[in-house]
Symmetry: C2
Subunit: 218 residues, 2 copies
């Protein structure tokens, strides 16, 4: 285990934790206090750390994703598990704002002709944002939803094509690993680029002194 | 406090926690075990819950954002605080994959002419994703970075314009509240729509039986 730690850069206590949680398969026992770990273990540890540290998944969400990688599920189901792991939907009370918001999301899905199940967590997560905008007194922010949907539709098709193309010659497990990696880490890449693009837009529109330069343009 | 809990739908233990953490200002004392909470408190509680539950921020990140709302910082600085709260960058060892990835992000920023500081956490977060792709054996996923950047650039300008336009008549604090709300919750809305758009793309390209339909098109 010490050698696995050296080769992967992951600490021994962390490796023990992932073994206990079933995120890393046990090594092959070679003695009472000795087990053999191979290249597969090093690769799996890298995947676990990428999902947690770079993808920002909770341990519970990462376990769901890894279960899909290890399970006998189809590539379609594994992609679905990775997509679902990206949104967490807390339990919340239903009120007028949330039912109106849910109807607006259903309407958007129908308008775009998206093939999305009733249970897709994205529906509820999107409705939660619209309802929060309304409750906080900023309903106009919800008007951007069509711009967001358009942008995500264009990217999603290319993302899914890319993860499918990359895994087609390497067998099911490697293909599923790629699909899961691209889906989860792609979300982090998108948010990282949004942070930079927003910083750029703020600098252009406001300037570092905080003056609203967009007002001057009007 | 019982009445504040009823009006806001937030439990008394949670209210006490937010008071202790300085996320909610103290009420006006009216007796030894009595304090008065006004409409401002109800609104602040809604904002706290939206940042945590809908925005998915950690308590630490939400505190940074609220400090910007309450502080004497400019709208530009408050927007920056909200943007930065959206990415967490864990400490990680520098290796060849990470320095190559950092150079690719610097190159992207230069190519797009983005006005982004050296310290912007989006730089490091984007580089971490590219480095993870390389370490996991999927460097080709990083090729989508220009598509992502293009989409985020278009959205970010509209997002920042929208939060600036909405707050211009309501004074600094309300404007900052709006900027922070739109920035943080907008990220959640984007990811929720990505989940649905990806589910749609998976269904179109793979079908629920897991057959790769894109292969048939080729």
């Amino acid at each position: 285990m010490g050698e696995l730690s050296r080769r992967s850069g992951v600490s021994v206590p962390s490796i023990k934790y992932y073994l206990r949680e079933g995120m890393l398969p046990a090594g092959e026992r070679t003695g009472p206090n000795q087990a053999d770990y191979g290249e597969d273990h090093v690769r799996r540890l890298r995947l676990v750390r990428a999902l947690l540290d770079v993808g920002g998944l909770s341990v519970a969400a990462a376990k769901e994703v890894l279960a899909a990688v290890d399970g006998e599920v189809s590539l379609y189901e594994a992609l679905g598990a990775a997509q679902d792991a990206l949104v967490s939907v807390p339990e919340g009370a239903e009120d007028e704002a949330s039912s109106t918001a849910r109807a607006r999301v259903d309407d958007l899905v129908a308008r775009r002709g998206w093939s999305v199940t009733e249970e897709n967590p994205g529906r509820r997560a999107a409705a939660d944002v619209l309802a929060a905008y309304t409750r906080l007194g900023w309903p106009q922010f919800g008007e951007a939803i069509d711009d967001y949907a358009e942008a995500m539709e264009q990217l999603a098709r290319r993302e899914v094509e890319s993860v499918l193309a990359s895994g087609s010659d390497d067998g099911r497990e490697r293909a599923v690993e790629g699909a899961v990696t691209g889906t989860v880490l792609g979300g982090s890449l998108l948010l990282a680029l949004r942070v930079m693009a927003q910083a750029d837009a703020s600098a252009r529109l406001l300037g570092e002194d905080g003056t609203d330069k967009s007002a001057a343009d009007r």
